[in-house]
C-alpha cells in the first residue's frame, strides 16, 4: 500500500528537528528557511507541523509543466530543468508549503525524499509519521472532525 506523511499536532513539541533534517538532507546545511516541512510555533503553546498533502493543485497551474506526480511515491515533484521560478504554484498552494528557494531560484516542495522522508524518520515525538494511506486518511478525518466540532462549540 502507498504511504504518505501523517501529522499529529497534539504530539508536536515545536523542536524544529524535522525542518533541520530536511535542510540537511536536501542542501547539506542546517537552515530552517530552506526546508520543505514547517513547524509553526505561536503563543500560547501552539506547535503545529505543516507538511505538503501532495494534493496536486499546483500541477495544473504550472506554465512549463515542471510539476508532476511521481508514480512510485505519489509525491508531487518539481523538475528543476523545467521550472522557471515564476511562483504560480506557490500562489495556489492552500497551506503554504511551496516556496521559491532563495539560492536555486526554483520552486521547492516536499518530495517525500523519494520514499523515505527524513522528517518522519527523525521526529523524536512521532508527530510526523510516514504511514499507509488508510491510516493517514483516518487521521485526516479525525483532525477535520475535531476542527469542525471546535467551530460548532465556538
Amino acid at each position: 500500500m502507498a504511504k504518505i506523511l501523517m501529522v499529529d499536532p497534539s504530539l508536536c513539541t515545536g523542536c524544529h528537528r524535522c525542518e533541520m533534517w530536511c535542510s540537511l538532507t536536501k542542501y547539506g546545511e542546517i537552515n530552517p528557511s530552506r526546508t520543505n516541512v514547517y513547524v509553526v510555533r505561536r503563543e500560547p503553546g501552539i506547535d503545529v507541523p505543516v507538511v505538503c498533502l501532495q494534493c496536486g493543485l499546483c500541477i495544473n497551474v504550472c506554465p512549463t509543466g515542471a510539476l508532476k506526480r511521481d508514480q512510485k511515491t505519489m509525491a508531487v515533484v518539481v523538475d528543476g530543468e523545467k521550472c522557471v521560478g515564476c511562483g504560480k504554484c506557490v500562489s495556489v498552494c492552500p497551506i503554504g508549503v511551496l516556496r521559491i528557494d532563495k539560492e536555486t531560484k526554483i520552486a521547492t516542495k516536499c518530495d517525500l525524499c523519494g520514499g523515505s522522508p527524513a522528517c518522519a524518520a527523525h521526529c523524536p515525538q512521532n508527530a510526523i509519521r510516514y504511514e499507509n494511506v488508510d491510516k493517514v486518511a483516518a487521521k485526516r478525518r479525525e483532525l477535520w472532525a475535531v476542527a469542525q466540532a471546535k467551530k460548532i462549540k465556538e
Binding site: T13, M20, T25, I30, N31, P32, E43, H122, P124
Partner: protein
C-alpha cells in the same frame, strides 16, 4: 569559509551608538571553541577588575557555540556572560528557547554590548543588519507585553526576543533576562545590567542557516546522538519535565525545605510534578532542536491564583516557592512562576530571598513593621505573591528584599547571617549539598558564579547519579565513593566532572544531554565527532577537554582578579548542621577543606589561594592571565 559558526562578532556601543561587525579568527576561536569559553577570553581581556557591573563601563557578551542551532539535540542554547551585580563575580546565564539559534542564523556567533544608552532602546538584529532602536514606548511594560508589542510592530511572528521586565528596569539585583517569553537567562542579575544600560530588549531573526563541513559524517554523528539519547538515564526529564524531581527528591530526603533547614517536606505530594502534569499542564514544549522537550506549559483556570498559560514552573521554581517557603498550594507556586517570568525575575533567588525573610520573620529578626504589614509566617502563599510584586517595584520592604539574601543578612546582623543561604552572594539552588551529593557541595563552594547547580554541570551526576559521563577513560576516579564521603578522591573527581560539564559550556549546549555514559548521552567523544564533522576541524575529545580547561581556568582568573580566592570558596553555615528529619536525617558537610585541597591540586592551582599557578596558565597558553 566558516562551517558550524557564523564567523562574526557584533559589537554595539550604546553610548556612542557605534555598531561594528568583526571577523572572528579561526585559530584563536578554536583555542576556546566558543560560547562562554570565548566570552571568558573577551571579558577577561576587555573588562579590567573593579568595574561596577551596573556602570556604562561594564560589558555583556551574548554567546553561542558551534553546536547552537545545528540539529545537535542540546543545541538550543545561548549564554549571557557578564560580571554579576549580585555577586561581583563572573556570571554566565544560559537559556534555551530559540533565541540562540536565531542569533546565529542572523549571522553572529557573539554580541558584545557596551556603554549605556541615553534613553531606552532595543537592539534589532536581522540577517546581518543591526539597528539600535527607540524603546521608550516599551519601558515599563512586562516581558509578555514587550514581546507582543514588538511582534506587532515588526510584523514578524518568527522573531525571537530577549527582554527585561520591570524588575530589570528597576535594578532588582536578581532580575533575569527572559527570551521567547518563558525562557530565562536567570541567575545573577543580568536583567539589572540590561536595565542599567537602558537596554530593554534584543530582537533577532535570521535566515542564513549554518553551513556543515561534512554533511554525511555530521548526519551519522547526529543519528548516533539520537540513538544514544534513547537510553538516557533520566527518562523522567522527557516524560515529566524537571518537576518530576519533587517527589523523587522528597522520598530520598534531598528536597530543600524551610529555607534549607531540612530536606524533607511532608506536604510534597501537593506540589509534585504528578499534580502539575495531571491538573495544570497544557502541553510539552521543546527548546530549539531538543528531542527531550522537558518544558511544560501550565495555567490555573480560576481562583485567587488564576494564571494565564506560561512556561514552567521548573523543579527549581517549585522547590523555592513551595517547600522552601513551606507553601503547599501549587496554584500559588504556578502564579509565582508566572509573575517572575513576566516581570523578569530569577525564580531561585526570588524564592530563596522570600524563604529567608520568612525565617527571619518567624525568628523575630523582622516584624510586621519592617515588612509593611505583610504577615510573612511560613507557608503564607498570599503574602509570598504580594511580596513578589513589591520586589519588582522595589516599593517599601520590596526594595530590601530586592537586594538578595547576602545583603539583607549583612544588614540584619549575625543571627540572620547564620540562616543566609548563599555562596558569594548567589542564593543556593534546590539541590541539597548535605544529602544529595558531596560533589555538588564542593561545586557550590568553587564555581565562578557562586552557589550554582548548572554551570558547568549538575555535579551530582557523579555520586548521586553514578554516571561517569564519558570521563572514565580520561582519568576520572571510578567507581564513585558513596554519597556521604568527603574525601580527596571526590575533590579530584570534581576536576573531571567540571571539565566534562565545561565542554557543554564551550560548544554551546544544554548540559542535560551530557549526563549518562557511552551509549546513553552525548559524551565528550561524541561531541568531538559532532564538532569535527560540523566545522571540518579534526577535533578530538582531548582537545575539547583542553579547551574546557582553558575556559574553566580563565573564569577562575576573572574572579581572582576581582579579589576572590580560596577564602571565598565556602558554604553557608546551615550545611554544617545536620538535617533534622526525614530520610537523610543527620547528613551534613564536614570536610569541605579536604575536598578543596584535592580539587585545587588536581586542577594545578595554588592550594593557599585557590588560584591557577603561572605554570598552569602557561601550559594552557593563557599567559595573558598571569598576574
Amino acid at each position: 569559509m566558516w562551517y558550524g559558526y557564523a564567523g562574526k562578532l557584533l559589537r554595539v556601543n550604546l553610548t556612542t551608538k557605534d555598531i561594528k561587525i568583526e571577523e572572528l579568527d579561526q585559530q584563536e576561536l578554536r583555542k576556546y571553541i566558543g560560547c562562554s569559553g570565548y566570552a571568558a577570553k573577551i571579558l577577561y581581556q576587555e573588562m579590567p577588575a573593579g568595574i561596577d557591573p551596573l556602570s556604562p563601563e561594564s560589558k555583556v557578551v551574548l554567546s553561542t557555540g558551534p553546536v547552537t542551532g545545528t540539529l545537535t539535540p542540546s543545541g538550543g542554547s545561548y549564554e549571557v556572560c557578564y560580571k554579576s551585580p549580585l555577586t561581583g563575580t563572573w556570571n554566565q546565564a544560559r537559556s534555551g528557547g530559540a533565541f540562540g539559534p536565531k542569533l546565529k542564523y542572523a549571522g553572529f556567533d557573539f554580541v558584545i554590548i557596551e556603554g549605556k544608552a541615553e534613553e531606552p532602546v532595543y537592539l534589532y538584529i536581522y540577517d546581518g543588519s543591526v539597528e539600535i532602536r527607540c524603546a521608550k514606548h516599551l519601558w515599563g511594560l512586562n516581558v509578555e507585553e514587550t514581546t507582543d508589542t514588538l511582534i506587532r510592530e515588526l510584523d514578524d511572528p518568527e522573531i525571537c526576543i530577549a527582554a527585561i521586565g520591570q524588575a530589570g528596569e528597576n535594578g532588582v539585583l536578581y532580575a533575569a533576562l527572559m527570551n521567547d517569553r518563558g525562557r530565562a537567562a536567570g541567575r545573577g542579575g543580568i536583567g539589572a545590567v540590561f536595565g542599567s544600560k537602558n537596554l530593554k530588549a534584543v530582537v533577532v531573526n535570521g535566515h542564513k542557516g549554518v553551513k556543515v563541513a561534512q554533511p554525511e559524517k555530521f548526519a551519522k554523528a547526529i543519528e548516533k546522538a539520537e540513538q544514544w539519547l534513547q537510553n538516557y538515564p533520566f527518562q523522567s526529564i522527557p516524560l515529566f519535565g524537571t518537576v518530576g524531581l519533587v517527589s523523587l527528591n522528597n522520598s530520598l530526603g534531598i528536597l530543600p525545605t524551610k529555607n534549607f533547614e531540612t530536606a524533607y517536606f511532608e506536604k510534597a505530594e501537593k506540589v509534585s510534578g504528578e499534580v502539575i502534569n495531571k491538573q495544570y499542564n497544557i502541553k510539552r514544549r521543546a527548546c530549539y532542536g531538543c528531542n527531550f522537550a522537558c518544558g511544560r506549559y501550565t495555567a490555573v483556570k480560576n481562583g485567587k491564583f488564576a494564571t494565564p498559560p506560561m512556561e514552567g514552573p521548573e523543579y527549581e521554581t517549585v522547590d523555592m516557592f513551595g517547600p522552601i517557603c513551606l507553601v503547599e498550594d501549587i496554584e500559588a507556586v504556578i502564579r509565582a512562576n508566572y509573575l517572575c517570568n513576566v516581570y523578569g525575575l530569577d525564580t531561585i533567588s526570588t524564592g530563596l530571598s522570600i524563604g529567608f525573610v520568612m525565617e527571619c520573620y518567624e525568628k523575630g529578626l523582622l516584624t510586621e513593621k519592617d515588612t509593611d504589614g505583610l504577615d510573612l509566617r511560613w507557608g503564607n502563599a498570599e503574602a509570598m505573591i504580594k511580596l513578589i510584586e513589591k520586589i519588582v517595584t522595589k516599593e517599601g520592604f520590596g526594595a530590601f528584599v530586592a537586594q538578595g539574601v547576602k545583603r539583607m543578612a549583612e544588614k540584619l546582623g549575625p543571627k540572620a547571617e547564620e540562616i543566609a543561604n548563599h555562596v558569594k552572594g548567589l542564593e543556593v539552588p534546590a539541590h541539597e549539598p548535605r544529602s544529595e551529593s558531596k560533589v555538588i557541595a564542593l561545586q557550590y563552594a568553587v564555581t565562578p558564579r557562586g552557589a550554582c547547580h548548572m554551570h558547568p554541570t549538575w555535579a551530582s551526576t557523579f555520586d548521586f547519579g553514578q554516571l561517569e559521563c564519558g570521563m572514565k577513560e580520561f582519568g576520572m576516579p571510578w567507581p564513585p565513593e558513596p554519597i556521604p564521603a568527603e574525601t580527596p578522591t571526590k575533590g579530584k573527581a570534581y576536576r573531571y566532572v567540571a571539565l566534562q560539564g565545561e565542554i557543554s559550556e564551550i560548544v554551546g549546549a544544554c548540559i542535560f544531554h551530557s549526563w549518562g555514559t557511552e551509549g546513553s548521552c552525548i559524551t565528550p567523544q561524541l561531541y568531538a565527532e559532532i564538532v569535527s564533522a560540523l566545522t571540518g576541524w579534526d577535533v578530538t575529545a582531548e582537545e575539547l577537554i583542553k579547551a574546557a580547561e582553558r575556559s574553566w581556568n580563565l573564569k577562575r582568573c576573572f574572579n581572582g582578579r576581582e579579589g576572590f580566592t580560596r577564602k571565598d570558596d565556602k558554604l553557608p553555615k546551615r550545611f554544617s548542621q545536620a538535617i533534622p528529619n526525614g530520610p537523610s536525617k543527620g547528613a551534613k558537610v564536614e570536610n569541605l577543606d579536604t575536598m578543596l585541597d584535592a580539587y585545587y591540586e588536581a586542577m594545578g592551582w595554588d592550594k593557599a589561594t585557590g588560584l591557577p599557578t603561572s605554570e598552569k596558565l602557561k601550559e594552557l597558553g593563557l599567559e595573558f592571565a598571569i598576574n
